[in-house]
């Protein structure tokens, strides 16, 4: 019918939005190898200096350590708690389900500043010192809804008669969950864990209220934005972080997709 000789307005618009979304990432990557302390054109020479500086910066390495710790702990907890919630809401239609669903989805829409300050007050009142641990507790809350969504959408693809079959063959309910449901959900569990991890790893707003002196990477980054001389190093760090996050998230997305297409075949 129509000859696609000229790109359609729709595709031009799509490409324009994509360029805007990717441009800052690509520019940062370029400047991270640029042999100049300022981010100005024209580009000077190629250097790995900024990357080398990163590894000599003990403050930065400590922040990376804190972020890894918070990310790992909070995503592990969120994945476990979220999966329990997901199994409960997908497999059971009992009173309390609606309330649980509403409360567990709330952190998706409550502004982070409210979560941050309310926990700041709570921890102050009961005497939990501000720390990486405190921030981790908060990150579990914002991660639970995402973990639940991912695991629930995987569970929906599998009818519960697999669990019933296992129980008919003599497994206890918990045995069936452990040996049938959990293995089936494994790709979704990993995808949920990775998503929660990257969320926690990037999270600034809540962490800024709760970390105390256990600076996390985003908090450290934010504090460095004020010093122009540290700029190239921050840019190098940004380039590394973005590459890692994108790789991790692509892997997690692939896991989720692979899991779902398997579910359809089964």
């Amino acid at each position: 019918m129509d000859k696609p000789k000229w790109p359609s307005p729709g595709s031009i618009y799509y490409v324009a939005v994509c360029v805007l979304l990717y441009l800052p990432i690509i520019l940062l990557a370029f400047f991270s190898f640029n042999d100049s302390t300022t981010l100005v054109f024209p580009l000077k020479g190629f250097t790995l200096r900024w990357y080398e500086q990163l590894f000599d910066n003990s403050e930065l390495l400590k922040a990376v350590g804190n972020s890894l710790m918070i990310g790992f702990g909070s995503s592990l907890a969120a994945t476990i708690l979220g999966s329990m919630g997901a199994i409960a809401i997908v497999r059971f239609r009992l009173p309390g389900r609606g309330l649980f669903l509403a409360v567990s989805a709330m952190p998706l829409v409550i502004p982070y500043v409210i979560l941050g300050v309310s926990l700041l007050i709570l921890f102050h009142e009961i005497g939990i010192p501000l720390s990486a641990f405190a921030a981790g507790l908060a990150h579990v809350i914002i991660s639970i809804p995402y973990a639940m969504l991912i695991v629930a959408s995987r569970l929906v693809g599998f009818p519960d008669n697999l669990e019933e079959a296992a129980m008919d063959l003599g497994a206890s309910y918990w045995g069936a969950l452990l040996r049938v449901t959990i293995p089936i959900c494994a790709p979704a569990l990993l995808a949920a864990f990775l998503l929660c991890f990257t969320m926690s790893f990037d999270e600034y707003a809540i962490a800024s209220f709760l970390v105390g002196t256990d600076t996390t990477l985003p908090v450290y980054l934010y504090s460095q934005l004020r010093f122009p001389t540290r700029l190239p190093m921050v840019v190098a760090l940004a380039a590394i972080l973005m590459t890692i996050t994108m790789a991790v998230m692509l892997f997690s997305e692939w896991l989720r997709r692979a899991g779902q297409s398997n579910a359809r075949k089964a």
Partner: protein, 283 residues
């Protein structure tokens, strides 16, 4: 009976966690909003003075109102920009549409702070765009472009939200039975009318979901205004942050947070009037 105990033991741990680390803190904050201070006698004195001074201070209310307008503007622009994207992907992009949608989401996985920061680097007075224009001889003097203003906050947050808003609209458009559109065309309905009378109404749940998902978190935004807003771009979230981190007037900050929470709950209530949350999210 067995089913009940299984359900209870599954829902128990996440339920208790959410209660202790999510609901209880909000309750404690509510109590805090009546305290006179954060330590000593003031801590144990309860008063309505915080609420009175909040209601008397028109600055606070103006800023809350202004932030609400900024948020509505951001959510509105994001939705307007996201709709054609989702529409193009669902109706014109064919089999590649899911991959192309994912391509839009991928950049949002990278650090939010750094993406905003990189725009600051590009648009700032010693930034990449200025230096490029200077070296090309197109401008004579470097000056910051767009940043440090309320407009900058709006532009930045629209930029951040467009992919997220496109997602529910994409899902809603995907669910539309395409034979309805064929039927309309067969019956002689012009394309624009078919869009107005079939596609648009059927995609409204996705549009609303996208709009509210951008609106609600934006209301509490304080990081973006700090980065690109300058003095005039301050939002209500900055006021709250100030009360806790600088002014150390926690009871007042609690009052402000309660006011925002109330606004958010009202918005969520409005949203659920249009349909259940899970329907809107496409599950």
């Amino acid at each position: 009976m067995d089913k009940r105990s299984r359900f209870a033991s599954l829902i128990g741990p996440p339920g208790i966690y959410l209660l202790l680390i999510f609901l209880v803190p909000i309750g404690v904050m509510f109590i805090y909003s009546f305290r006179s201070g954060i330590s000593g006698v003031a801590h144990d004195t309860f008063t309505l003075a915080n609420y009175q001074s909040f209601l008397r201070n028109t600055n606070f209310q103006n800023l809350l109102w202004r932030s609400a307008i900024i948020s509505v503007t951001i959510a509105g622009f994001s939705t307007l920009m996201a709709y054609p994207l989702a529409y193009y992907l669902v109706f014109k992009a064919g089999a590649k549409r899911v991959t192309l949608m994912t391509l839009l989401i991928v950049p949002t996985w990278t650090s939010y702070l750094l993406r905003i920061f990189s725009w600051k680097l590009i648009l700032g007075s010693s930034g990449a765009l200025n230096s490029l224009l200077l070296s090309l001889g197109w401008i004579e003097k470097a000056s910051p472009i767009l940043i440090y203003s309320q407009q900058a906050v709006i532009a930045t947050l629209v930029y951040v939200w467009v992919p997220f808003v496109a997602l529910p609209i994409f899902a809603a458009l995907e669910r539309i039975d395409k034979s309805l559109l064929e039927a309309a065309t067969d019956l002689g309905c012009p394309k624009w009318e078919a869009f107005l009378r079939i596609t648009l109404p059927l995609s409204l749940p996705g549009v609303l979901a996208g709009f509210f998902f951008a609106l609600i978190p934006t209301l509490g935004e304080f990081v973006t205004p700090l980065l690109v807003g300058g003095v005039s771009g301050s939002m209500y979230g900055n006021l709250i942050q100030d009360q806790f981190m600088r002014a150390l007037n926690w009871p007042m900050g609690s009052v402000m947070s309660m006011a925002m929470l109330l606004a958010v709950l009202f918005l969520i209530f409005m949203l659920t009037r249009f349909g259940s949350l899970s329907d809107l999210a496409g599950f």
